[in-house]
């Protein structure tokens, strides 16, 4: 499952060959540590990196074909354009030539053979990679328009922001995802880490990825899933082993109970919030919306539609449509006082 390093020499060659790719490649090669970009040319994980290498190879081949064929075309246009005096006679009438035609059939055949073999090799290398002993399992459930994450072995449920431990040569760490959907088709795509895989209802899909540098990797849903498909963003945090352990420990706790925000907590349980949201350790056990037990451990709300600030949170609870039109959380018509109490409570959920 390790990226085949034998390809790196070839890809180095391609890099020097292909101008366009080289610009992007430089972007990747000189990136100091991780960058938060969804570019497929800034890989930071094994599958993404090996796909990147293959893509350079393919760009080199197709670029070569383009140069040759477009060059011949240009030559023909310039050389054989109609000139003065040409109207006096017709050019020699040529009907075809079996030898020439055979020749230009064989070349594409050879190119296809080469392309197919390299492609097939990588398909098998990524898809059928043997599962290493040390892996992290995560179950991803796509919802209109947010992501639900379960860590079955760790007993954690969270949403929209996935935390994984970083992978190093000393401590390789792959993450295996099982992908499901609660409603319609979605697609899990964090370009710097791996290609995308769809989440299809009534169907189980799997994919794996790893992150070579600690940091944030952004992506988003890549299969049209309804009105707010554009705001179904995805954030993956690759943590150092220590950070990850601390994160896990915190997530495993029940929700913080702070007597100062008792009013907000009661309101949450009295309003229908609890029908849709779970807050561990309270009567709220709804499953329709994201788990809010550790809401404050997230940097964004509503799948990246807004930053996790008290002001944005108030606006979200007052009228979700104003933040994310078409989101499936209803406006509850609460008074400003009630919203303040609720948000004060939510702000304690670290």
């Amino acid at each position: 499952m390790n990226a085949d390093r034998s390809t790196s020499r070839r890809s180095y060659l391609c890099r020097t060959l292909v101008l366009l790719a080289a610009t992007f490649a430089a972007h990747a090669a000189f990136a100091e540590g991780p960058q938060s970009t969804p570019s497929i040319f800034a890989p930071a994980g094994t599958p993404a990196a090996s796909i990147f290498d293959l893509s350079l190879f393919v760009i080199a081949i197709t670029g070569g074909i383009f140069v040759v064929v477009a060059g011949l075309l240009t030559y023909a246009i310039v050389r054989y354009r109609h000139k003065k005096g040409d109207e006096k006679s017709e050019p020699a009438q040529v009907y075809g030539s079996t030898q020439i035609e055979l020749a230009w059939t064989v070349v594409p055949v050879l190119i296809v053979v080469v392309l197919f073999l390299t492609t097939a090799r990588l398909i098998f290398a990524i898809q059928d990679a043997p599962r290493p002993k040390k892996t992290l399992d995560v179950t991803v459930i796509g919802h209109q328009f947010w992501w639900e994450f379960h860590y079955p072995k760790l007993g954690i449920v969270t949403a929209n922001e996935l935390h994984i431990p970083v992978s190093s040569n000393q401590q390789p760490q792959a993450v295996f995802l099982k992908l499901y959907s609660a409603d319609v088709d979605h697609s899990f795509w964090v370009p710097q880490l791996a290609g995308k895989t769809d989440l299809i209802p009534n169907n189980e899909n799997v994919m794996w990825m790893d992150a070579k540098h600690p940091g944030l990797y952004v992506g988003q849903c890549a299969q049209f899933c309804g009105v707010e498909h554009a705001k179904m963003l995805l954030r993956v945090y690759a943590d150092t082993p220590e950070e990850f352990a601390a994160w896990v420990k915190n997530q495993q706790q029940a929700a913080v109970v702070d007597p100062q925000v008792e009013a907000g907590r009661e309101l949450f349980a009295r309003q229908s919030c609890m029908n849709c949201h779970t807050i561990k350790g309270t009567p709220a056990t709804g499953h329709y919306g994201p788990d809010l037990t550790h809401l404050m451990s997230r940097e964004t709300i509503a799948a990246g539609a807004a930053p996790n600030t008290p002001a944005a949170m108030k606006e979200w609870i007052r009228d979700p449509d104003s933040v994310k039109p078409g989101a499936l959380m209803p406006a509850m018509h609460l008074t400003d006082g009630q919203i303040d109490q609720l948000v004060a409570y939510l702000e304690t959920l670290h």
Binding site: P38, S39, I40, I51, L54, S55, I59, V69, A70, L72, L73, A76, I77, Y80, R81, H82, E90, P91, Q93, V94, Y95, G96, I100, E101, W104, P108, I111, V112, L115, F116, T119, A120, I123, Q127, D128, D183, V184, D185, S187, W189, P191, A194, K196, T197, D198, I200, P201, N202, N203, V206, Q220, A222, F224, C225, G226, V227, E228, H229, A230, P325
Partner: protein, 567 residues
């Protein structure tokens, strides 16, 4: 292949109608009536093309709105709901109401003329097919008024042009917008199938004397291939639409995942239609190139048998590549490898075609009138589209590129850069035949270059946000992802293209009234449609033409060096 039983070449000269026609023009109502009730393949062909051009403008306006919305990050020009309707309608319109009718129109008008026939095999089926297609389109657009039921405000379909299940189930798509989508495609599909049956019957049964299958103009050959593909591709779509209706109204569970149905099955049905559809659309573009490039290079097509074989080959292979639209749905590695291979194989016959066109131009005396300019752009752009297609067939890379703007750029390169360019070139080429007038060459060249600039501004730069991770079908994006500048350039290019299309339409209009009179054969061309008057009389040819080679008019013009000596 000289056949002594056949009359000598030159007989086609007698096919030209020289009787003067001095019919008084009818009243407006009479004219209208004559168009509505017509079964003449030429009038129907013209109606198909005009219908397609109208929807080109409508779909174009939708595209412009989409591009305004995406020109800047976090833009509020369109609401998410309206945006989703617009891209769904844009895609559906351009494929079903613009692309297909346009090519059927070309086949309708040209095939009988090229094979020396007086009409299509089934003239009334022909009229029926047109009106089915027309009603399908009108019904789809009626959804803007009636989509939520007559009492509510309307809404158009908003599930994307491939309408993946279960987003189309009643749970996720209430109201009637999806029904409008389903039923109108069903209806226009019936029309398309009727047209395909007709073209095949016409070519097989109505060829004039001496026109063997190996003397058939390549345009007619490719029309047969296209029609065969239509017959194979549309039924799966129709079947899927029927199943979807059963799901929505009769409690079926084909695609209803909440009740155990399969979302994957819809994808398979749709793409078994959807991929051949690409070739249904592109074959007529090849067909036009096969006629125009030789005439303007002043040489016969290079490797006629190879061109026929390559077209038939592409058609066959294209039936076995559909799941390259589904590399990310979780197929097995063997499945992915299979579809990667079959897709790459399409590149071989396609390559043969490009080389043969190149060889046709090689050694010629190429006249760059507007039709040939369009063909030249077509060649470069089709080459590029093919190469990005190869990139997409590399399954692992496809896991990154799928559903990104790279794919959107790729298929617009095919649909606009190759197909639309070729069809516009075709319109320029046959306009004199259809109207009896030449297009304004100066306006034509302006329009062409404007379109080239706009096209490349839009679709070259559209690849980049895709590589930078921008998914398709999103109504907005946040700033700072590196997509802003590219999207702005793309949007500006879209307006340049719009200007070019308007200029083209304007040229069609003014030249109809003010254009130079064309004569029968303004391009010094070689196929039978140029042997009759412009526009041709209702019965096409006074006497049935007789041909002895692939280029009957060449034989007539060069009795000292006729083609049939070499074929």
């Amino acid at each position: 292949m000289a056949d002594s039983a056949l009359p000598a070449p030159g007989t086609i000269g007698g096919a030209i109608d020289v009787t003067p026609h001095h019919k008084a023009p009818g009243t407006f109502l009479e004219t209208l009536h004559s168009w509505v009730v017509t079964v003449d393949h030429k009038k129907l062909g013209i109606m198909y093309v005009l219908y397609a051009l109208v929807f080109l403008l409508v779909g174009g306006v939708e595209a412009l709105c989409i591009r305004i919305q995406l020109g800047r990050p976090e833009n509020h020009f369109l609401s998410p709901e309206v945006y989703n309707r617009f891209f769904t309608m844009h895609g559906t319109t351009m494929v079903f109401l613009m692309g297909m009718p346009m090519l059927v129109g070309f086949m309708n008008y040209l095939v009988p003329l090229m094979i020396g026939a007086r009409d299509m095999a089934f003239p009334r089926l022909n009229a029926f097919s047109f009106w089915m297609t027309a009603f399908g389109g009108l019904m789809l657009y009626y959804s803007f008024i009636g989509g939520s039921g007559l009492y509510a405000a309307g809404n158009a379909p908003d599930v994307g042009w491939f309408a993946y299940a279960p987003l189309t189930a009643r749970a996720f798509s209430p109201g009637h917008s999806t029904d409008y989508w389903t039923v109108s495609l069903l209806v226009s599909g019936v029309g398309t199938i009727g047209a395909a049956v007709n073209v095949i019957a016409t070519v097989f049964c109505m060829r004039c004397k001496g026109m063997t299958m190996m003397r058939l103009p390549l345009f007619a050959w490719l029309s047969v291939v296209t029609s065969a593909l239509i017959l194979m591709a549309i039924p799966p779509l129709t079947a899927a639409q029927v199943m979807l209706m059963i799901d929505r109204y009769l409690g079926g569970h084909f695609f209803d995942t909440l009740a155990g149905g399969s979302a994957l099955m819809w994808m398979h049905f749709f793409w078994i239609f959807g991929h051949p559809e690409v070739y249904i659309l592109v074959m007529p573009a090849f067909a036009v190139a096969n006629e125009v490039i030789p005439v303007f290079s002043r040489k016969p097509i290079f490797g006629y048998p190879a061109m026929v074989a390559a077209s038939v080959g592409i058609a066959f292979v294209s039936l076995g590549v559909w799941a390259h639209h589904m590399f990310t749905v979780g197929m097995t590695s063997v499945g992915n490898a299979f579809f990667a291979l079959s897709t790459m194989i399409v590149g071989i016959p396609t390559g043969i075609k490009i080389f043969n066109w190149l060889a046709t131009m090689w050694g010629g005396k190429i006249r760059f009138a507007t039709p040939m300019l369009y063909m030249t752009a077509f060649l470069f752009q089709f080459l590029m589209a093919g190469l990005t297609g190869i990139m997409l067939s590399v399954a692992p890379w496809n896991w990154q590129l799928h559903n990104s703007y790279f794919v959107v750029a790729h298929f617009h390169y095919v649909l606009v850069g190759a197909i639309l360019f070729a069809l516009m070139g075709g319109i320029c080429y046959w306009y004199p035949k259809v109207t009896g007038r030449m297009l304004d060459e100066k306006l034509g060249k302006w329009g062409f270059w404007l379109l080239v600039i706009g096209f490349h501004m839009t679709f070259d730069f559209m690849h980049i946000p895709g590589l930078l991770g921008m998914p398709r079908q999103i109504y907005t994006y946040e700033a700072g992802r590196g997509w802003d500048t590219w999207n702005l350039i793309v949007s500006i290019g879209a307006f340049v293209q719009a200007a070019a299309v308007l200029l083209f339409a304007y040229n069609l209009l003014v030249s109809y009234f003010r254009g130079e009179v064309a004569g029968n054969d303004p391009w010094d061309a070689w196929t039978l449609e140029w042997a009759t008057s412009s526009p041709p009389p209702e019965y096409n040819f006074v006497a049935d033409p007789v041909v002895t080679s692939r280029r009957p008019l060449w034989d007539m013009k060069h009795p000292e060096d006729p083609d049939w000596k070499y074929e």
